[in-house]
Symmetry: D2
Subunit: 431 residues, 4 copies
């Protein structure tokens, strides 16, 4: 390839040699001239990119922003034409003018073998630098725009993960699991035993990379605590006796796909598949963390401390051995559960529930079913929610109704008990 001459008159940009080379190849690739050799050019650019350190990535991103953004002049001119004559042709010209050349560049980069993984990786690295360079946001959005199209549900493949899956993929599960970390292969093996199910979405162009995965336990009765489920030494339950499917972990694997949602699709699909495989299942529920509860307690310390019902609460919580002290623990349970119900059902930030996990499941149309004392006694569980966990129930026939009520009225669908407790947990009059 003969690289194009540097732009005349442009101020010299400080770029390392390999960034300069990658950029020059990008220019060829994005031009009509690159069409014929796109596969090779794309592979070269991505190979160079992989060699960049953080500084190199920074130079590269900055240059892409500079060289492959839409031209304001063209946009303004096309917009003016359209304003004057809103014809289909003028609209097409305007559409073309606002489309960042980066998108076409990224589309062509994707022609190299294995490129999709690399582009998802590139966005991950871009997101990592967004705080320092907020002006790159549009480029991140361009990638997200493409990913939304490429990772369309119609292209995703649901695969069951079990002990017959390749070590290559299983290793990824160990690496990615974010909710309850996998402690090595024996732990993983237990999570894939015959009373468990694990499913993931895969994209055909990334056959070894799960996009999102979910872990399910088949149980009798709705599980209230996660440690028994995570115990590698626990006995394997006869799945034919199960009446409940407990979703105890759902993990988005690809940071680079942030904002391109799949979790809700996966849950719905898995509920349907499990119903077919086990017609006796009566309940589909999560066993979920409440990540923001203790932070919220702290923020609301003022009124809680003023409320007689919660006397001594904060002192008790600070006493590290309270879980071993039955009286302490009982007292805390009586105080925390109504507060937690209040937190989940009534507390709001920007009009939405404060808790991020609650927002996810409620938006999906699930309903808050039960708060579980000592549900997660891990260090993290204690630190984030004093050990509390919650079950969200997925009933296919009410998902859409709940979803609508949540979106339009902000209504939190909850069981009678939780609703009642939430109201009880409210600040006393005058608080």
């Amino acid at each position: 390839v003969n690289l194009p001459p540097p732009k005349v008159g442009a101020p010299a940009r400080r770029m390392s040699r390999s960034v300069r080379k990658a950029l020059a190849l990008c220019h060829v690739l994005e031009s009509e001239r690159g069409e014929l050799s796109a596969t090779r050019l794309a592979a070269e650019v991505l190979s160079l990119y992989k060699g960049f350190d953080l500084a190199g990535q920074r130079e590269f991103f900055a240059a892409l922003m500079e060289d492959f953004s839409p031209s304001p002049k063209e946009i303004v001119s096309a917009a003016a034409d359209y304003a004057e004559q809103p014809t289909a042709k003028n609209l097409a010209v305007l559409q073309k003018a606002v489309e960042p050349p980066r998108r076409e560049l990224f589309r062509r980069l994707n022609m190299a073998p294995g490129a999709t993984v690399e582009l998802v990786q590139m966005r991950r690295q871009l997101l990592g630098q967004l705080k320092a360079n907020p002006e790159w946001e549009p480029m991140s959005e361009d990638l997200a725009y493409l990913f939304t199209s490429w990772f369309n549900r119609g292209f995703l493949e649901l695969r069951r993960i079990d002990w017959r899956t390749s070590a290559f993929v299983l290793e990824k599960l160990i690496e990615y699991e974010a909710v309850h970390a996998v402690q090595g292969w024996d732990d993983l093996r237990r999570r894939l035993a015959s009373d468990r199910r694990c499913y993931a979405f895969f994209h055909p162009a990334m056959p070894d990379e799960p996009v999102v995965f979910i872990e399910v336990a088949l149980t009798r009765g709705m599980a209230a605590a996660v440690q028994p489920l995570l115990d590698p030494a626990s006995a394997v339950f006869d799945s034919q006796q199960a009446d409940s499917a407990i979703f105890y972990s759902i993990t988005n694997c690809q940071d680079g796909l942030r904002g391109v949602a799949f979790g809700n699709l996966l849950i719905k699909q898995v509920v349907e598949d499990l119903q077919n495989e086990f017609p006796r299942l009566r309940k589909f529920a999560t066993l979920s963390p409440i990540p923001g509860f203790r932070d919220w307690l702290k923020t609301n310390r003022a009124w809680i401390e003023r409320d007689g019902r919660y006397e001594g609460l904060f002192a008790s919580l600070e006493y590290p051995l309270w879980p071993n002290d039955a009286a302490h623990a009982r007292r805390l349970e009586e105080q925390l559960i109504p507060l937690c119900a209040h937190y989940l059902v009534l507390a709001r930030a920007k009009g939405k529930p404060v808790d991020s996990v609650a927002r996810f499941h409620l938006r999906n149309g699930a309903r808050l079913e039960r708060i579980n004392w000592m549900g997660d006694t891990s260090v993290t569980g204690m630190r984030r929610s004093a050990g509390l966990m919650v079950n969200y129930v997925y009933r296919l026939e009410e998902l859409e109704r709940n979803h609508e009520a949540y979106r339009h009225e902000g209504k939190v669908s909850a069981s009678y008990d939780i609703d009642a407790m939430a109201r009880k947990g409210e600040p006393a009059t005058g608080a």
Copy 2:
């Protein structure tokens, strides 16, 4: 699903019930509310669509144009804001304003199982109605925009087609082959014998539908005539003795993908793969039709008849038995080959070669190598080009150079012989 009430005040549209239903579902699907049930809604819409007759399709297309086009008012307003303040945020708003809601609708329709095939089909049917309804062009472009993204080379899978392929796919080859029709299974079997290769691109979401396929014969010497290659009774050649790979047919299978090009990528890939499998291959060439030659002769009849060298040409061509008359045939050969060289190398329409097949291969960087007398003696071959065929040679190392010269200077890369003949074939001075 509770369908939304009809728009108040809108003039009643005449639509059959099922079109009305499909349209209502489209509105739900495209709204946020549809997110949760997208898969099911999409499946319902596509199922209704499949039941539409031509009139129903027409109603549906018209309604999609009406209801899911961008709002000129919003565009103009966003354009004005941008013109005043060309910020990233205003650009994003403008981008959103010009993006037709149809695109998101089509993206969501694609979430149903098997939807991709249906959407490709939908565009095929849309294209069929474009002549009568040119105002639907933007909708066709929206689908093309999505297809370009979805059918990215990085997502296409190259598969070899042979006698081990499923009858399901083989049947599609018989159905789609457009260059030299397949005369049943015996003919197909011969085309997949050990001295032949057939490759196709497939998309993971359409595993039984080839996107484009190519047929190759492994030969000794560059084949000059296609009938021997098509003869089901011809002897199978020992492919290890081959020094040439002859691409004698390339077929785009999906009319709905018109304008989304793959043929050039397929040829390049196949050249590379064959080089690996058969290191002794020295020549990669097509054996191609010249579809526009006789039409061009007619159009240029005036000057040709004036030119003494071509005396009697048209009369001879009209004599149906000339191929059986050696003297006639020899005379015609002497006259037609220089004219054909002229037609391929020098004749221009809008600055480009007149012949559509020539345009395709020249744009790919191939070079015109040889014109073959009696290359295709089928009825079609005689009618379109008086039996002439041409070999285009693909040399990987010169593709890019030829492509550039073709695009920028309109240069037709041709062998010395053809170049010389083309000049000889030119109208005599004064013509």
Copy 3:
């Protein structure tokens, strides 16, 4: 390989060079020395064998009989030792003495890639020469002994054949179908439509070669005639409405596996699989030919003609146009059906039913359910059984009982109607 010297003193055998070479390689292969290079040696022998014409095969078979038979002297000596002292050790020696070295030779020949197909072929050719060389029977039995072990049900794979199957395998079906010949690909396609099922057993070492296959039609009511099932233009029935599965063809594909039975295993397996896939199926029945009926009529012409009930029968049958003559046909139907019932239920040869197809299904435990007039109007059907066909019903729960009764008491399990007719069809007293 250094071939061993010719046996001293042995009379010169007249063998072509390549047979001599193959034989010498067999000697090396069968010896301990051949162990290390067995794969290569076996491949060479089989490649030579494939080049033999009939005469070469004859020489080769004769030589194998001569050189690789057990030694009578050794047998007699080992037998004497055993008679004197029937110890485990002496038994082992005797077992070794009676085992023909051919078996080990064939086992080692099987080590070459693709050898199993070749050995099955070899037995087919051997069987073809058995009539002329009955002394080779033991060698055919040695192969059968090995095949019984190799083609154990535990090693066979049941595969469904449909339009997604490779053309390679489908073509074999067209080639092998012996009951109702397949008239090309369109006919085959109809036989694999959604209201049909086709299953085959495959052996892992012969992945492209079906061992036995069965064709099933899903119907409403028990089919009485085969031509409607074979009609490529017949409408496809909605298989979810079916209450019957009709086995209308079962074909053993490999002549070389004669005597190694699979048909009964296949039918049982398919009945079980279909019951799982279509719980509404109530009846599993064949629609079978009666190949020996008209031959039997001829053989029994004497008494039949004497019996007043059958007056004019033979004359009518000889009148070729009787199927078109309603009166004739009705009369024949009244006469032939009782005779056919008699033939199937009561006629015996060597204590067993005369009809070979009847023997097969009755031995499997099926029961004779119905005789069908004009069941097969093809030339063959008319010639063999005057167009009659029969349904055998497979009821899983009674197969074993019927099988036992058939084997021990020779009892033919039949419907009440057929039983009654069979008795009516019997020769009149004194006949």
Copy 4:
């Protein structure tokens, strides 16, 4: 199934109920009556068998020996007939008489799904009881006879094992590896990295159970020590730079297949495959233990101690810290290597080399190439061979010659150096 009545007059056998039931089912299964329901009967027997404890197995084995052995009376009678008239027919009768009914029973047991694994398991358990019940040897031989036929090379599938293999199979490798135990998944992962190869033979009826596997390291130069190869933290070598393939572990996985050899076939196949994949490989060699060396030293202590060259040898070896003491170690190296060469090349038991690993590779036609000091410094390596290891080289073109020389003349093929040392290591005159 109606079970047959107990044999009249037979002395009551003491068997647990489930053994009795299994045995009764075996009788039905082996009879003609069982043919039709063989699959189900076999599955029942194997399911019962799996529930047996050691005592139950013992009862079952004893009963099989009693009930399914050939009849001495029949054998003697058939033998007498044959001695009188050695016809093909009489031979067939005798062959049938000496064939233990157990073989047919085992063949039919194999018809159940998954039965092959169970039968291999059964023989493993039988072998475990042979010492206490040597009279069951013939039954073990019957199974071996069948396995030899079933596990014919032509039916085995060579599969590469790598990190894409299922965890199910990989776990088996960890479990079975007998030469250098695998220390968990990280160790295994290193052994499957890109500079390693692992291959296994699989049988189609046991798709998750490797039959035998081999581990190979691609190196530059012939590896002399195994610890660097086993180090999970060792750097991955660029396999394209390798000139040697080192077989550092070969493991027979199935004890139940004892005596049915595959290891030599696997090595040869892998050498061929590696040569194709890496044409630059020049050397194919093992890095093998010398398991019997120190035992042999002890047995031969008398003459060694008398020989002045080996003064202090035994005392040094007993000093546990000698490997850390350079002077000691150097002295031991000088003494042990010639003795080891002598042990490998010249020491004999029953005419064959004393060392079991040496016997295996020499029989395969490999040659002793080099003795490696401190080749295996593991506890086992030190205990068995004072840390010595040996390379056997596989040269395809000389395997057969070496094999022949070894088998007929007992010749140990060794490098010049080892040969020379072996002679030097010999007992001094008079020893």
